[in-house]
Amino acid sequence: MTKHDSNQPAAEAPIIIATDVDKIYPNGCHALKAVSTTVARGEVVVILGPSGSGKSTFLRTLNQLEVINGGSILIDGVDMYSKGTNINQLREQVGMVFQNFNLFPHKTALENVMLAPLKVSGREPKEVEEHARDLMYKVGMDQRMQNYPSHLSGGQQQRVAIARALAMKPKIMLFDEPTSALDPEMVGEVLDVMKSLAAEGMTMVVVTHEMGFAREVADRVLFMEEGALLVEDNPDDFFDHPSHPRLKQFLSKIF
């Protein structure tokens, strides 16, 4: 049910087009080596790979938290690095969820969700609040809206963080290990929210170690190692018939 349905208009261009993306950190670390991929509208892509393989770095180039050193990235047809591009407007369309939630500790849960729409989009405060309350309901946090982040569990904080990203009405959602900082019993509640998002047709790029989630929800799985994108495959072939020897090695260590 959550799988991306393939009867979309064939002519529609991918919403993310990354071409030969290179990233070299100031300390000389070559974190991305000519990474090219595309993501279709409504597609859920999961990125796997060993620690330090460049998964986070790649994800962060997609909303320019990291500036790339070569190649190009198009978001919904807009070249991120062309002169006329307003990066703040572009980021409004690309929500991001972090491993450590990064909620604003001086704001209540509801205020966290409302802050950016109020200060950035210039929407009507009433409309923003209604939308924020709807989102809180959607992530199951409608009972704890007035709590400060320090009074919420990790799973609750992460669900608020998802609502906060959704409040900007993004076209794409990026998730960087959203469940890695959570106690095991809280992983499920966050994955459930992500699954329902995927079912609604949100375009998602997810870095995660949750193989179950990848199998069940992903339309495509990417495997990265040492800054290079080695494998792109549908989840069944990716897990059951791994082609690349490095991927076989990686999977054998996990299972």
């Binding site: 703040n88 980021r91 929500g95 972090f98 990064n102 604003f104 001086h106 704001k107 950016a116």
Partner: protein
């Protein structure tokens, strides 16, 4: 129970030491054959001497047609009019000489020490406002990625922190003051705020840098510009963390303001010196001046502690 008893003991020790210190100060005062006279200090704080209305000319006291008392001078000049509401200590026809007391008004005025205290408060508050504004700007420049802004901020901070405030006050007063025709009070405010701002900038820089980088990333990923992220996300959090060092800096500012007395601003310290030069009660006056400073700084640190507690709501 056990702990409680120990605390009692140590509190007793504390009080004993304080009393001992007071006693030794007192005995030291005795030894140098100084006659303590705290009464003399009081009028310099609150002056309750009655205001005396004195005759300006030699003449006779009479009432004119409207019933207003007047002194008609012997030499036939203009009469000295007297406020009819005053309770005169003389009656009609009495002879008066210039300098005679005609009436006295009960009143309390603030003495020179309190006047000095008010000047100290005024110069501290004005300097504080400027120091915060300048310090915030320099602090933001300091964390900027733009090398020009960053290096300007570093230079400013290093130059100001590397030279004594007293020298800065002289430079501002004699050099800048002459070039820009500054009044001495303005010169004092400029020197104090520029000096304090350098420390405020460092406190703000440390505050901003103590906020985890994920906060800025989260704000930017939501489409906020850098200034908006600073204003709505970083600075409110940094502000809370900078309150304790900021309180210390503001207390320093109040104490540092005593140095402006060298350019003849009659602040609390200068007022103390002036009172002593006419009165010869140096010990009492200096202790009083110290106490007044202490009242000021404690009030400030109490206020900031209250603010801190209010801001702790989200912890």
């Amino acid at each position: 129970m056990h702990v409680n008893q120990k605390n009692w003991l140590w509190n007793g020790v504390f009080i004993a030491i304080i009393l001992g210190l007071c006693a030794s100060v007192y005995l030291a005062g005795k030894r140098i054959d100084y006659s303590w006279n705290w009464d003399r200090v009081v009028p310099f704080i609150i002056n309750s001497d009655p205001l005396e209305i004195v005759a300006e000319v030699d003449g006779t006291l009479e009432f004119n047609e409207q019933g207003q008392p007047q002194i008609y001078p012997y030499d036939g000049g203009d009469p000295q009019l007297i406020d009819p509401t005053l309770a005169l200590s003389l009656s009609e026809g009495d002879m008066v000489y210039a300098g005679d007391v005609l009436a006295s008004i009960e009143q309390t005025r603030i003495g020179p020490l309190l006047e000095g205290l008010l000047v100290t408060i005024e110069i501290s508050i004005i300097s504080l406002l400027f120091a915060v504004v300048i310090g915030l700007m320099v602090g933001l420049m300091r964390v900027s990625v733009n090398p020009a802004l960053r290096n300007l901020a570093i230079t400013y901070i290093e130059v100001i922190r590397g030279t004594p405030l007293l020298v800065q006050i002289f430079i501002v007063y004699f050099f800048l003051g002459t070039v820009l025709e500054l009044e001495r009070f303005t010169a004092g405010v400029v020197a104090l705020s520029v000096f304090t701002a350098a420390y405020v900038a460092e406190i703000i820089r440390a505050g901003i840098q103590s906020i985890p980088s994920g906060q800025m990333e989260a704000a930017r990923s939501l489409g906020m510009s850098y200034p908006k992220a600073m204003i709505y996300v970083i600075l409110p959090q940094a502000f809370k963390r900078t309150l304790p060092p900021m309180a210390g800096q503001f207390i320093n500012l109040i104490k540092d303001s005593s140095l402006v007395s060298v350019i003849a601003i009659t602040d609390l310290t200068k007022a103390g010196r002036e009172v002593i030069s006419g009165n010869f009660a140096p010990f009492e006056v200096w202790f009083t001046v110290a106490l007044l400073y202490l009242v000021l700084t404690s009030a400030l640190s109490w206020a900031i502690q209250r603010l801190e507690r209010r801001l702790a709501a989200s912890d």
